[in-house]
Amino acid sequence: MITSLTVGSQAALSVIQGCLVATLQADLYDDLLLRIRQGILDRVHSATIHGIVFDMSSVRVLDSFMFHHLADTARMVRLLGAEAVFVGFQPGAASVLVDVEVDTSIIRTFRTVGQGIENLIASAALREGNRDDREDNSPAAEEKRAGIDDGDHESERGE
């Protein structure tokens, strides 16, 4: 299922396989970036979204302001409990980001939207898996929890 929502005039958000895909237009500016951020945070907050893919394939020029704005948006998404990845950087944009020496290690990148979505779903499954472990009601898990609890009591008594 793909649902779309237009943010501003030329940026679009789509939900594909539970991931929010933000397709950014060729040339960005502050107000548009703020609207995109707001749209993304609202969607991540209100819906069950595994994560967000920033599709950079149309972006030709990305200055340090824009880069930091997007990287900060990714951090905000993470605070809301989802993941963010960037895909499809153009060679020119990549080369400039290195030339201007912004810290690009703070974002995760993939080649295509498909790879980005795949990765987000895999990380979400991992997070869900951890949660399931904790909520596991099988006898084995009960026993394991009881064991841990006993251990805690032991140590409390020991103090």
Binding site: D27, Y29, D30, L32, V61, D63, F65, D99
Partner: protein
């Protein structure tokens, strides 16, 4: 929209910056200007990025100003000159503004200036509280940095 463009001559272009979206306009105009001058694809992106940084500086810290694109020549080469001018409060500490942007990463003056200096071949800045800020950045065709 407040964007107004006036071609003074074929080899000069004035871009008025007063609204957020004027930055997008500045990027497009700069890339086209550099393309007409025959700069490589990679250089067009670099020069347009410098124009983007300068535009953001103006829009954020001075509120409004102008970007002027010019073709310049010397003995045996041609280049592009990007002039950013505003009547804002000026940059208090230019040295600090030009320091690596890690130290002035967010919310303070000078965020984009080290980037502009790295991208372009020549970089000049004059600033005072009375007259605002004037930045001149040049890139030569076939000079170092052309890839």
């Amino acid at each position: 929209m407040a964007t107004m463009n006036r071609s003074v001559e074929n080899d000069e272009k004035l871009i008025v910056l007063s609204e957020s979206w004027d930055k997008e306009h500045a990027i497009i105009e700069t890339r086209e200007f550099a393309a007409r001058m025959g700069f490589s694809q990679a250089d067009r992106t670099l020069i347009a990025t410098a124009a983007a940084e300068l535009s953001t500086n103006i829009l954020r810290y001075a509120g409004q100003g102008e970007l002027i694109l010019r073709t310049i020549t010397d003995a045996d080469r041609i280049g592009i000159e990007v002039v950013a001018v505003d009547k804002g409060r000026g940059i208090m500490d230019i040295e600090k503004a030009l320091q690596d942007h890690y130290s002035t990463k967010r919310g303070s003056l000078g965020l984009g200036l080290p980037s502009v200096r790295r991208i372009m071949d020549e970089f000049e800045i004059e600033s005072s509280p009375a007259s605002g800020t004037l930045i001149i950045a040049r890139k030569w065709k076939g000079h170092r940095g052309e890839r």
